[in-house]
Subunit: 274 residues, 4 copies
């Protein structure tokens, strides 16, 4: 069972929580705590084992910690919907992990603004919806997508190289629930064409960033980042190719963390209990 | 104040400790816990802040947790003695950090089986003792070293590229108190001439390992490891040169962790609360 | 066009090769050279562009460099056969890249000693052959595999987590043509159960190694290696899971290098022109 | 002997150079070539060994390659001047390497706008000049520095955490001869207070960048970059402390590359023959 708690910090919080768990004969398997002393905010993630019921624990914790954010998760599998454009690398990695039950979530469907990824989805028996953006207002386009999403239950939307900018109205419907992979080491090269910019700048490392989506483009809370070395022999095209490897790896890592309830968000930053 | 606790695991340990801290009005700044479920062992590291006295806290914790290893450290600076042979890179790094008060310890003296490092020590006003190993039995040689050590108080002995093998009798005098930097990614290339072996094997990464010294050569608990990429263009000599950079970095990191009370030892392995 | 040359070193080799290329109006796009001065061996890899014919160039180079190993490769796609046991991660990555034509080779078929990977292969329309090893002599088992291989043309055999040890007789049939992924940072933890050994030793990094297979178990020329950090909180099972990520990445990288003619072998080591 | 050549690309350049070297009985130890096909520019670095004289080789190469940039370097030690402000870490590393003759250059003197680094310099017998910037115009301040520099011969100026912005007039006097270490992964967090910005953005990696100084602040050609992982538990101050380690390492690496004639500059980017 995973317990996540977030509230204003004060003396004795750990004593209150661990006291309750002890009295309920719950054993603490792992415990990770963070105090943001500047903002006076307390974060706790526990893996516990024992006889107690999740709902009851949540109720008792809520009574003890008035006003706190409390989540007690009996480890049900989460559900995700994936949005894509034309590239296969992140999507195929997700589909493979989903197929072999190592993703930590089940993929409900995939939505693309082109139909290029339909074939790979069908090979894994995953519903694919083509929603072309051409010839439509952004509002109509996003309404089409929202209608499809409405047909499923989803804990998270994953933008696996989805190359359209979502509108504020869309994003507000899924607060802290949309995960994007950006193909640069943010905040370097935010926006379009990061590899071209990286090539022109002559950087010696390129990166990828997985982050939650907010209404500030590429400015949402960062979940995971990684880099690989490049050199003068790399063309912009070589950088694109090399970058795909870390885009795939970083998105996989971020999903693993989020789906395992290891990521809290506060003040546009993440607390990641790896 | 840093509190380190190690004992057999049972339900309620965190509740007991955090309950005491709360009742003493101590605030938990950071808390890192580990349970070795296989060995049923509990490890806890706390940074706390508040009005309580270290000695009193230790006494109260000892009363609550019979049989536990308990350390309550009011952050006094630690003291170290460094042993060297001919190479400067790790030693100079330690001397520089010591000089600018960023080491987390104060260097009491340096002992070398050659006098090559005497000059750099004198430049930093650190006593240097030359103890030649030649023409002596190992027993006499080590007795000379022990006599010098006896003149100082030291929390740790740091082998900063000290290239003699210490006898079991010597090592037993300093259990879990001798830190060595080995110039390979252990357990690969244990023993002498690791770079030559790495060159001959044609590895694509070389490494360094900081570990506590036990009577099993290069088999003590590992504190930190790091690698760098190499390729076919590296001669064995190039590997030696490249390796010095990570030897320096890994030893510095390991010292930082140990001197900050972040490293526990159990079953020939370390628990490192980074 | 890719030209690879290997021979004893002497003054003027680059002049001879580049002189011929200039006289044939061939432009040098990239040129990587290595001299093993200890062994007096010369290695050259060129990417060239221009009007000349590959066969003619090879003939003229052979006339100029008697006794040299010369390969002039007009970039046809290579062919590979993959051997697996029970794990999907390396195989699925290869199948996905193969499907999207980014592998640099075409997968002819997959052979497994269990049938677990049959389904994923069929989803990508790749022939899969189950060859059980149980109830057979090693000789018979390997003969079954060899008979299947004989039905295809293959430049390389890729052991994508194939967990049986191949016999010397089998290996001799494919000199420098079998590529294996070993789930440790060789030479550490060669042989069986590397993660279990790594866990017991308490290492702080785990690795993976792609290498050519020779008759010395896990002792063949290393193509690529990579590591990831681990810590005390990793169980042996966690290491296995984390290790799969780098196994996949390292094998992908090694295949990319080998299939692009960037890897030469000499004295049980590789020269890798990245 | 190291030969560096840069010119417009055309067929036969390698043949011309290697033909001359062969006729002069010069053996090629290592050869690294790069063609910028987009810009049609050719770069070559050779390490050669043999009876020929450097001056004569340069003359003959110049005759064969009209208009090319040609450097034939008989490996004399280079000379550098270091500028600092208040921090010791990069400077001390340079002083130690200089002292033990592993820097690849000799430090002529150190200039600081504070006197804090005078003591460490005097411990290594290196002249130190304090040039306060306070109460002076930038012009006067820089004139003071230039006067000191004029008293030495220096191949490069190294800004080892020198925290003043140099004027265009100053920089123009040392084209491609000033090397700076910037405490972020450029182009992220250019300008002042990069760690504060990194902390506020919540990045998961922080970096350092060594680059040549041009009149565009933090926009000069990048020589080397490196990163280290950070997490939510890092305060801005922790990032500063962790960052010092990579600042030191990256500047050391960049100096090693530049002082070994491995770095060419073209179109505000570097070609680095590692």
């Amino acid at each position: 069972m995973i317990i996540v708690i977030q509230c204003a910090d004060k003396v004795g919080l750990v004593a209150i929580v661990s006291g309750l768990l002890a009295s309920e004969q719950m054993n603490i398997i792992s415990m990770r705590e963070h105090v943001d002393t500047e903002q006076n905010q307390f974060f706790l993630r526990l893996e516990v084992d024992g006889p107690a019921d999740a709902g009851m624990l949540k109720q008792k914790l809520s009574a003890l910690l008035a006003g706190a954010f409390i989540q007690v998760n009996p480890l049900p599998e989460k559900k995700i919907i994936v949005l894509v454009t034309k590239e296969y690398h992140c999507l195929a990695d997700i589909l493979v992990r989903n197929h072999f039950k190592t993703l930590g979530a089940s993929v409900q469907c995939v939505i693309g603004n082109y139909n290029l990824m339909e074939d790979i989805c069908s090979r894994f028996d995953i519903p694919f919806y083509t929603v072309p953006h051409e010839g439509k207002t952004k509002e109509d386009f996003e309404k089409n997508i929202l209608d499809i999403i409405a047909g499923y239950e989803a804990d998270y939307l994953v933008l696996a190289k989805y190359m359209r900018i979502l509108s504020p109205g869309f994003i507000e419907k899924f607060p802290s629930k949309i995960i994007n992979i950006h193909h640069s080491f943010l905040p370097a090269f935010a926006g379009a064409h990061p590899y071209k910019k990286a090539f022109e700048r002559g950087v010696k490392l390129i990166g990828a960033t997985a982050h939650f989506v907010t209404n500030e483009l590429d400015e949402g809370p960062i979940i995971a980042q990684q880099i690989i070395p490049v050199n003068h022999s790399y063309t912009a095209k070589d950088m694109v190719r090399a970058g795909k490897e870390i885009e795939t790896a970083v998105l996989a890592k971020a999903l693993n963390l989020v789906l395992d309830d290891r990521v809290a968000i506060f003040n546009n930053k993440t607390i990641v209990f790896e």
